[in-house]
Structure formats: C-alpha cells, structure tokens
C-alpha cells in the first residue's frame, strides 16, 4: 500500500494467478445464439406476446379441426331447426336456414385466415422486392418508384379494393388478389427505408469488393438484415387483411354462399339482430380474438427483434 491509500499496482503480492482452467480467453462459456434464437428467448419471456401466440394457435387449430369433429357440415340445412339458441346439440346455435353456426364460424375462420395469410404473403413479397430495389438503386429510379407508391397511397385503398373486386368478380381467389395488390405499399416503404440505411454499411461494401451482384447483395445481405421490421410489419398486416376481407364480405363483395367467412357471417346476421344477437356475436368475437392475438404477437415481435425499442 502506498502512502496515498491507493492500491499500488506494482505490488505483485496483491495479484493472484488465475486458475489454469480459465486461461483461454477465447473459450466461449455458453453456446452462441443466433439472432432469432435470441429474439425467441426475449419473446418467450413476454407474457402478452405468448398469450397472443397461444390465442392465434388456438383459433387456427379450431378452424382446422372444428369442421372435422362436428357431425354437421357448413352447408347442410335443417329447416325444422332454424334460429336455435346456442347450447344443446348446436354449440353456437343455428342460423336462419338451420345451418350449424359452429361449423360455419370454423369454416369461415379457415377462409378468413387463409385469405389474410396468403394475401399478406403476396403483398409482402411485392413490397419487399419493390422497396428493396427502390432503396438500393437510389437516385432517379428510387424517386420515380416512390412517387408511384405515394400516388397509390393517396387513393383510398378500400376504393381500389372495391374496384378490383367488382372487376374480378366475387370469389376466394379474387379477394386474395385484391387485398394483395392494394396493401404492399406500406411494406415497400419500410423495406426501402431499411435498405437505404443498410446499403452504406461496411459489410455491403465488402460484398461489393468481392464482386457480388445487386441481386446477391439484396437477397443475401440487405433483406436478411431488415428481417426484423419486415416480420413485425407482416404480422401487423394479417389483422389488417382480416379487417379488409370481412369488410368486403360485409358489403357483399366477398365470399358467396354457401361458403362463409367471418365477415359474411356478420353480415348475414344483421337482418335478425334484434331477435338472435348471438348470430353476430360468435363470428365477431372470433374476428376480435384474431386481431387481438396478432396484435400481441406483433408487439412482442417488435420488442423481441429490436431490443433498442424496448421500454
């Protein structure tokens, strides 16, 4: 000890040699985690996100298995037993044509979920490629491409969806196409912003130096590194697509009978709302639960994939 009371670093007796097993500084004490393993760990610790995930899984399983376990089919009518209250033989009751509402809601869920997931997937694909090229190209091409996006954004999207639906005619495929062609704009904007940030980084420069082409840089370097925001946006797009699908079905431009979706079931129930409110309640409750689930998953993903945003 020196006179000033501080540790004298030259005093060798104060230092102990480290135990031999910890000698290698290179040794990794825990297995390293990939980005997604790390995100999954954070996601798992978020109760709201896990609740959302379970809710979505529960609804998907119900929609997939529900029609199979029921002894009725979604189109089978029993005109002697119309508008039966929930409970008893029909869990959710029957509709005005004596069809089992439980099976109809489950089959409707299949269609609503299928339409929204596939439409989201297609519009993500369009948005990612479009936004990716615009952001990477920059300059005049970017300007022109983004002007087009601005114009599409300014037209009321629902109006475009309706025009497309009238043009294509009602039906499962057409609803899908209409939603996909309308909602890629947001994704394009987000991907473009990400790509513009990332393209100035050193690893992109390194890839360029090694002679990688535009396509390779885009698909191997830029897009994987923007996966976080892309995933979050995609998760948030699914409930949006459920909304749009149910709205289109609600105004009579969606799925045609005897097929049903949650929106068309809500719409069918309106005539008899005063007497049989449960016919609106069940499909509406499933729409809300789906929205809730996907919103929680989306929020959880955002927190998990981008820890800087956590509060």
């Amino acid at each position: 000890m020196s006179a000033t009371g501080r540790l004298d670093k030259s005093d060798r007796t104060l230092w102990e040699a480290p135990p031999p097993e910890s000698k290698s500084p290179e040794q990794v004490s825990r297995p390293s985690m990939t980005y997604f393993q790390d995100a999954w760990r954070r996601f798992r610790e978020n109760p709201a996100a896990m609740f959302g995930l379970c809710l979505v899984a529960f609804i998907v399983i119900l929609a997939l298995l529900g029609p199979a376990v029921s002894s009725h089919s979604y189109w089978e009518q029993d005109l002697n037993r119309t508008n039966e209250s929930p409970g008893g033989e029909y869990i959710f009751g029957t509709d005005s044509l004596g069809r089992d509402l439980f099976v109809r809601v489950m089959t409707g869920g299949r269609i609503s979920l299928l339409v929204s997931v596939i439409a989201t997937f297609i519009s993500c694909l369009i948005g990612i490629l479009y936004g990716g090229f615009a952001g990477y190209a920059g300059g005049g091409a970017d300007n022109a491409m983004m002007r087009i996006v601005d114009i599409i954004w300014t037209i009321p999207l629902m109006l475009y969806a309706i025009i497309l639906m009238v043009w294509l005619g009602p039906g499962l495929h057409n609803i899908l196409i209409a939603i996909a062609l309308v909602y890629w704009v947001n994704m394009a904007r987000i991907v473009r912003a990400q790509v513009m940030n990332l393209k100035e980084t050193e690893f992109v420069l390194a890839a360029k130096v090694q002679g990688a082409g535009t396509w390779r840089i885009l698909t191997r370097h830029l897009l994987p590194n923007s996966m976080g925001p892309i995933l979050v946006t995609a998760t948030m797009m699914i409930p949006g697509a459920v909304f749009t699908e149910s709205f289109l079905s609600f105004i009579g431009l969606g799925i045609s009978a005897p097929l049903a979706s949650w929106g068309s079931l809500c719409s069918d129930s309106l005539g008899a709302l005063r007497s049989y409110p449960y016919q609106l309640f069940f499909p509406a409750a499933f729409i809300c639960a789906t929205m809730l689930g996907f919103n929680f998953v989306g929020d959880g993903l955002r927190d998990a994939l981008d820890p800087r945003l956590r509060r």
Partner: protein, 306 residues
C-alpha cells in the same frame, strides 16, 4: 417557406392528375356499363342513353372532355340519377359526413390525448391497465361490429339513444363512437408511448431539477415533444373520416357521402366515383401538407425549407 408550399402544391397537382387518370381508365375497364339492368333495356334505348352522356365516344375523347369540365369546376352529370349533377350530390351529402367527421375527430382528440397522458403518468397503476385494456380491445373490433353492437345495446336494449338521423346531439353519440373507436384507441396508445419516451429524456430531468412544476413539465415539455406522431396520424385521418364511412352511414341511416363510394362502383356511376375519389385524394394531400407545416410549429428544429 413560400417556396416550400409552392413546390408542394405543384407536386399535389401532379399527384391528383395521376390519380384522376389511373382511376378513370381503371373504372372504365370494369366490365358492364351504367345502363345495364336486370331487366334488359332495348339496345336502341341504351345506345341513345350512351349517346346522350357521350359514352359512345372513344375513351380518350371522354377523358379529355372530363378534364375540361373538371377545370371549369363541373364534375359532370350522374349516370344513375337523371338530372342530378355530381356537384349536387356532393353538395347535398357532404354536410352530414362533414358534421359526423368533425365531431368524431374532436372526440378522438379530446378523449384520446388525455387518456394517453393519464396512462403514461400513472404507469403500471390500475388506471393505466384499464386504459391499455380498453384501447387494445378498441383496436380489435371492426367498425361494422362496433356500430351494430352499439345500436343493439344502447338503442334496442337500453332504449336511451336514437338509432338514425342527425336531429339532436344524442344522434351524434353512437355514430361518432363507432367511427372513432379504432382511432381513439390508436391515439391513446400512441400518446402513451410517446409521452413515456419524452418523460425519459434528459431535458425533463433538467426541467424538474430547476424547479418547474410537474404540470408544466408534463404539458409544456413532455406533451409538446410527443405530439409529432399524433399529428402524423390524425392529419390523414381527418381526410378519411370527413369523407364518410360506408358502414357507419349505412347502419345509422345517415344521408352522407360514404354510401356513394360503394354504390357508385357497383352501379358503374363513373362520374360520381371520379368526383368522390378526387375529393378524397385532394383532402388527403391537403391534410399531409398541413401536417408538414405543423411539424415546424410544434418543433422549431424541424425546418420545412431545408
């Protein structure tokens, strides 16, 4: 500043021209015409009607004459309502949508911003949980479900609210709640997260350290700095809400513009659809411009003329 506004106005006009062109040709490519009926009219009659409205001319001629009319402020006649022009339709249906829309925006802001502030300042207390629960729920209910539920509960069961029309203040409560429910929830959540973020900043600690009252810290320092995302969201919302909602107007039987959006497409009422699209797009562009100007007012660091 003037330069910035002039630039933006030019780009808005270009955008509008592009929108008019795209919508015009898209609409005319939809199969079926305005005079196709379930009961087939004789072909001579249809031909005569088409000649009367110049629908028999080549598309580009129709386009040019439409633009000419538009420049003179004339949006053309409706194809479905004989003798009624699109200007008449907009003049008659706009007031109802406008009133509902403005009341909705006021209601969204007056309820959403305080709810967000309350939720942020009483973080993790019961009131915060209650507000977060309600606002999360509010974001999951589609407007057509909310509208029918509100009518069912307050008009059919409790009988305390009227179901249709716009005669007294009571008539506004349910439609505005249905129209604004989603946005209200969104604004509350937005304000909560941005106030929380602002309260964590260093300048808040500085303000507290120099003895500024908590009220001033909250409203002068934190709130002002968290208004940017709210303004960004509410600007375009005004344009959307003011032009009417198909569902809410249908459920509450309000004579507004919303129903024409869907009806004009299914009836192939070309001019009405064009008029509404132009109105909607122009309002949206205007709202975005105002939002950009407001940024500079809220946060002087953001200068519009870079």
């Amino acid at each position: 500043m003037a330069r910035f506004i002039a630039d933006r106005v030019v780009s808005i006009i270009l955008t509008l021209i592009a929108i008019i062109t795209v919508t015009f040709f898209m609409m005319h490519s939809v199969p079926g015409g305005p005079f196709a009926r379930d009961k087939e009219a004789p072909p001579e009659v249809i031909r005569a009607l088409e000649a009367k409205y110049h629908l028999d001319e080549p598309l580009y001629v129709q386009y040019v004459s439409y633009i000419k009319g538009l420049l003179a402020g004339d949006m053309g006649p409706s194809f479905q309502k004989p003798g009624v022009s699109v200007n008449d339709i907009i003049r008659q249906s706009m007031p109802a949508s406008l009133k509902i829309g403005i009341v909705t925006i006021v209601f969204v802001l007056l309820l959403g911003i305080p709810a967000g502030i309350l939720s942020a300042t009483r973080r993790d207390k019961p009131s915060d949980y209650a507000i977060r629960f309600i606002s999360t729920l509010g974001q999951t209910i589609p407007s057509f479900v909310l509208a029918t539920l509100l009518i069912y509960i307050f008009s059919t069961k409790l009988k305390i609210m009227p179901t249709f029309g716009l005669r007294s203040w009571k008539h506004y409560v349910l439609p505005c709640a249905a129209l604004g429910g989603y946005s209200l929830s969104f604004v509350a959540r937005l304000v909560r997260s941005s106030v929380l973020e602002a309260l964590g900043q260093d300048y808040i600690r500085t303000a507290r350290a120099k003895g500024v009252s908590e009220f001033q810290v909250l409203f002068k320092h934190a709130l002002r700095n968290s208004l940017i995302p709210v303004v960004t969201y509410v600007g375009p919302l005004v344009a959307t809400v003011v032009t009417g909602s198909f569902v809410v107007e249908k459920v509450f039987a309000i004579p507004g513009m919303g129903k024409f959006f869907v009806d004009s497409i299914t009836n192939r009422d070309y001019t009405v659809l064009m008029g509404l699209t132009i109105l909607d797009a122009a309002l949206l562009c205007g709202a975005v411009l105002i939002v950009d100007l407001l940024y500079g007012l809220i946060d002087p660091r953001i200068r519009v003329d870079r």
